[in-house]
Symmetry: C2
Subunit: 298 residues, 2 copies
């Protein structure tokens, strides 16, 4: 395609499927990545499943993420957010910016082809290598990390706490802070590989201590000791966290139909670019038609 307007030469594939979620749409709008050619929904451009309908829920099942989310022996669990759609939008945003950069440098057009299924595979990270190196099919592991221990949610007297002791040094700090320095000397728990093997036993030891006090007590104690930890916030608590306001991560849109709406801010803070606490309302259907056609010289 010849270069005409500032957006010419970028083809976006599968837009109607991969850009669900208000955030991704906003994100692309902010990047100025309006679409100049939308092809019909398809699952990738060159393979036999290219017309398979790729709803988030279908792709979470097809791509394997549901098989590693949840608890062994318990009902199936979807990731609680539309991670299939969101990952598609994010990889597309990366690819679009790369295509814009390439065009800026060379004048060449790029066709961007992103499929939801592929994006789900790309998110599986260590589950793929755990399978391809051992032949063992990974299963769901509840609220723990597959290969680091202790790195999971524990019960306290009044709720839960996440403790992420990612290496031997942090494990020693954790044991000392909890008044159980002996755990770090215990041959069962000496290395991360051993702690993975004896995860249940270690968990019982730690919860034996943690059940004596509430979550806030332990967070204060472990923060002082330098052990990564945190609460399990619900949505209200996450939005009320002081960091949310400090980082402008809850913004508002004054929509004339629904009234004011609050939604997530932009997590990409770029010096030299404003990060306003409000956003313009979504345009009406076809509101930008004349502008877009003019830009394309039509």
């Amino acid at each position: 395609m010849a270069q005409r307007g500032p957006l010419s030469g970028i083809t976006i594939i599968d837009l109607s499927r991969i850009l669900a979620g208000p955030y991704c749409t906003l994100l692309l709008a902010e990047l100025g990545a309006r679409v100049i050619k939308v092809e019909p929904p398809q699952q990738g451009d060159d393979a036999r499943y290219s017309h398979y309908p790729a709803y988030d829920m279908v792709v979470q099942g097809l791509g394997g993420i549901m098989s590693i989310t949840g608890h062994p022996g318990m009902p199936l669990t979807r990731v609680g957010t539309s991670v299939g759609d969101l990952a598609g939008g994010l990889y597309t945003a990366v690819a679009l910016n790369a295509a814009f950069l390439h065009r800026e440098r060379t004048g060449e057009a790029t066709k961007v082809d992103v499929a939801l299924f592929d994006c789900q595979l790309a998110l599986l990270e260590n589950a793929i290598m755990r399978y391809t190196t051992t032949g063992e099919v990974p299963g769901p592991m509840g609220a723990r990390h597959p290969s680091i221990t202790p790195f999971e949610a524990f019960e306290t007297r009044d709720g839960n706490i996440i403790i992420a002791a990612g290496n031997d040094g942090l494990f020693v700090k954790l044991a000392q802070a909890l008044g159980r320095a002996d755990l770090a000397e215990n041959p069962l728990f000496e290395t991360n590989a051993l702690r993975n093997q004896h995860q249940e036993a270690l968990r019982a030891e730690l919860e034996g201590v943690l059940c004596a006090e509430g979550t806030n007590h332990w967070i204060a104690l472990l923060e002082t000791a330098g052990v990564p930890c945190g609460p399990v916030n619900n949505i209200a608590q996450a939005l009320a966290h002081p960091q949310t306001a400090a980082r402008n991560m809850l913004i508002s849109v004054d929509d004339p139909v629904t009234g004011p709406l609050e939604l997530a801010g932009n997590p990409m803070k770029l010096s030299g670019f404003a990060d306003p606490p409000t956003r313009p309302r979504a345009p009406d259907l076809d509101a930008d038609r004349d502008h877009i056609l003019r830009e394309l010289g039509l």
Copy 2:
């Protein structure tokens, strides 16, 4: 910072925390986004929690995603992949490409500041607006969509099936294909809002049909009827899906220490750029030191 080499003028914040996972590292390596200034781990650049250690597990708890993943009344559930780390890497890759593009156009440097906690909030999508518009705190919903019905995992005779009937037309098609056209006429199930209200009743009706045959039978039937659906694949099944090979989504790295490794391919297919089925091994520590210092003119 003065512009010297091709990478000057981009500051990446918090690299050691946000780029976990082999894929994100590969991704940035492919983008040529080698780091020229790494600041100490911090959770955002300007807020009081900027030095809070942001492990994936801690951030999944802090940011609210664990509170909406899992089943009501059942133990806490982590998303089965390190979505905290992965989202941080993806938003950083978007932002980095944007910073490169801006520099290409204007010569101006950009500081890129991305924090894991912010990225988790950005992934919450409709959970935020469900809370801010109704005041009700969203909880975990098992394997179903929070606001579309039927859009969930069902049991079949030999396993599970995902059915995603995202609108009234697809629901009619589903009911007809299952030989239960009456369900689409039932006043309890007439609109999506009603189906959300009567989700358990509808689920019982549908599973009453689905339990008569196996997953493959229903997938073939519903695909023919044009109803989005799919299996719940485990990791082995997802990697063995014909689409995985057709899209080059399982690539290999010939590592001289570990032997050949297989990992996820690149989901961003860009015309004019190769998508090889193998990747070079990770460089040894410090292997590129001379090259990088030369590039920086040091």
